[in-house]
């Protein structure tokens, strides 16, 4: 077992070196695929993080209380809500505190303009923080069933849209990934097939001498894996480089648009390299196995 493993690895390196041009071609194609994938991945992760951040801003539901609703009645509603699984936090916000917050958050330096108001136009309210953005609908529905609530307000459309965007982004990433993986397997299997062609005679002799199919496949499989590994390393390096450049150039502008900083290079690269290695190795291995199928039917 150990003897064969050593033989595979030795042969594989010899093959990669002897068929430099072919090996490079395979490496290039896997690298190209991984790069495209990597860039997509990086963009997706950033968008995903931005969306998650954005979701946090929309995870509250406000229930405005009718003027005649008393604090005691509100407390009954709060008690019932706090029993719900979807609810993370629920509290009573009286109209004066609401005015203070409103002045501080929205009007800031111009808050003095509101001082002219004779009567506070804001209602008392029950503020609910939901556990997950997707639960906002359900909580709003429940709130609507209580008496004494005049209006339930939350960012319904925004919430729906964000959920929808996240879903379709994930779906899109999956489809693109599947497509790219298939294309790279085909490309690699064709390149490996050429090296197999070049060694058809050797394979034939191996069969005559009594080599098992797996023994014949071994070095080619290892060759595919080595090519995949190198491609993974190269593309991870390039992606990290591009990404760090992108951060340097865009981070400020983007953080204004997205409202949060971009994912750090180190973190991104660390995650990406494992994905690349897994993909590179499986693409290389699958390519080799597929390309050898025809040569090994006895």
């Amino acid at each position: 077992m150990f003897n064969s493993l050593r033989y595979y690895v030795k042969q594989a390196f010899v093959q990669v070196f002897r068929n430099r041009a072919m090996s490079l071609a395979s490496m290039f194609s896997i690298t190209a695929m991984l790069l495209i994938l990597g860039i997509f991945f990086v963009v997706m992760v950033n968008i995903g993080v931005a969306i998650e951040e954005a979701k946090a801003d929309f995870d509250s539901v406000s229930a405005y209380l009718a003027d005649e609703t008393t604090y005691e009645q509100a407390e009954v509603i709060i008690l019932q809500l706090s029993g719900m699984e979807e609810v993370a936090d629920v509290y009573y916000l009286d109209k004066d505190t609401a005015m203070e917050q409103w002045k501080a958050q929205e009007w800031q330096d111009n808050a003095y303009l509101l001082d002219g108001l004779v009567e506070n136009p804001l209602p008392n309210s029950i503020e609910v923080k939901v556990r997950a953005l997707e639960d906002a609908d359900r909580v709003a529905e429940v709130l609507g069933t209580f008496d004494g609530i005049s209006k339930v307000k939350y960012y319904q459309e925004t919430v729906d849209k964000l959920v929808q965007i996240t879903d379709s982004l994930n779906m899109g990433l999956l489809v693109i990934m599947a497509f790219l993986v298939i294309v790279s397997v085909v490309v690699v299997s064709n390149t490996v097939k050429l090296t197999v062609f070049a060694r058809q005679r050797e394979i034939e002799i191996m069969k005559y001498v009594g080599a098992t199919n797996w023994f014949i496949r071994g070095p080619f499989l290892t060759e595919g894996i080595i090519i995949g590994l190198i491609a993974a390393g190269v593309s991870a390096g390039i992606t990290a480089l591009i990404y760090s450049r992108a951060i340097a150039a865009l981070s400020l502008d983007l953080s204004l648009i997205l409202g949060n900083p971009m994912v750090p290079v180190g973190f991104m690269t660390f995650n990406l390299i494992w994905i690349f290695i897994a993909l590179g190795v499986s693409i290389g291995a699958c390519g080799s196995i597929i390309s050898m199928r025809r040569f090994l039917d006895t």
Binding site: M1, N3, S4, Y7, R18, R201, E202, E204, I205, M206, K207, Y208, V209, G210, A211, T212, N213, F215, T298
Partner: protein, 246 residues
């Protein structure tokens, strides 16, 4: 050792072997002769299970090989060495590596390989060429390497498919003496050949195949085209009927 019983193999409409029965004993040296397309290659391919017989039974080393699964074929081939007319050495490997290759395939340790390959190279008489590449060798030397590769794993049967076909007469004789030497060590040898002089001078058992049938099987001469009617096999060949010696 090698037993064919009523073996038939057809290719589409062409006959490969037609109801052939042969018994080759352990330690035999057998020549397989006959015109091109007579069925000699079919015979060898069947022994190696490169192709499957349509009917009949084939035993190699006491094992029925017609029922072997694909997974068991490598094992069968390890007990049968093979030498070709065109040597089939790997051009990018040295003499040593070409022979070592056959041992690597059956998972031998590097130590065993380092010990055994020189022994075999010395047996075939090319110890001094171990680090050369096949292109640096003469045809005869290349065939010796091929023989070394075929016997390094101590097969019980050595199949030689026109091993002297590409060699000049003197070299051919050297190879024949080497094969005879290997045969004397107990390896069964089945040699396909067109070389009449070799067959005649070796005085071994000769099986003649034509149109998929055995037309002669006896000791001595190649010449079924010559005046050999004293042989029963020849007689039956002239009558167009097979005579199978089992």
């Amino acid at each position: 050792m090698i037993i064919f019983e009523n073996v038939t193999k057809n290719y589409n409409t062409n006959v490969g072997l037609d109801n052939v029965s042969i018994k080759i004993n352990k330690g035999d040296f057998v020549f397989l002769v006959g015109p091109s397309g007579a069925g000699k290659s079919t015979f060898i391919k069947l022994i190696l299970k490169e192709i499957d017989a349509d009917s009949g039974s084939i035993q190699v080393d006491g094992k029925e090989i017609t029922r072997l699964s694909n997974r068991e074929i490598p094992k069968l081939r390890r007990s049968t060495g093979i030498v070709f007319q065109d040597f089939r050495l790997l051009p990018k490997k040295t003499v040593f590596e070409n022979v070592a290759f056959a041992m690597e395939i059956i998972h031998q340790s590097p130590r065993q390989i380092r010990r055994q390959v020189p022994q075999v190279l010395s047996l075939v008489g090319i110890s001094n060429k171990a680090s050369k590449y096949p292109s640096e060798l003469s045809a005869g030397e290349q065939q010796r390497v091929a023989i070394a590769r075929a016997i390094v794993n101590s097969p019980t049967v050595l199949i030689a498919d026109e091993p002297t076909g590409n060699l000049d007469p003197d070299t051919a004789w050297e190879i024949m003496r080497l094969l005879e030497q290997i045969n004397m060590r107990g390896t069964t040898i089945v040699m396909v050949t067109h070389a009449k002089d070799i067959v005649d001078r070796m005085g071994k058992r000769v099986i003649a195949i034509e149109k998929g049938r055995i037309v002669r099987d006896d000791v001595g001469h190649y010449g079924y085209q010559e005046n050999n009617s004293k042989h029963m096999g020849m007689y039956s060949y002239e009558k167009g009927g097979p005579l199978n010696h089992v």
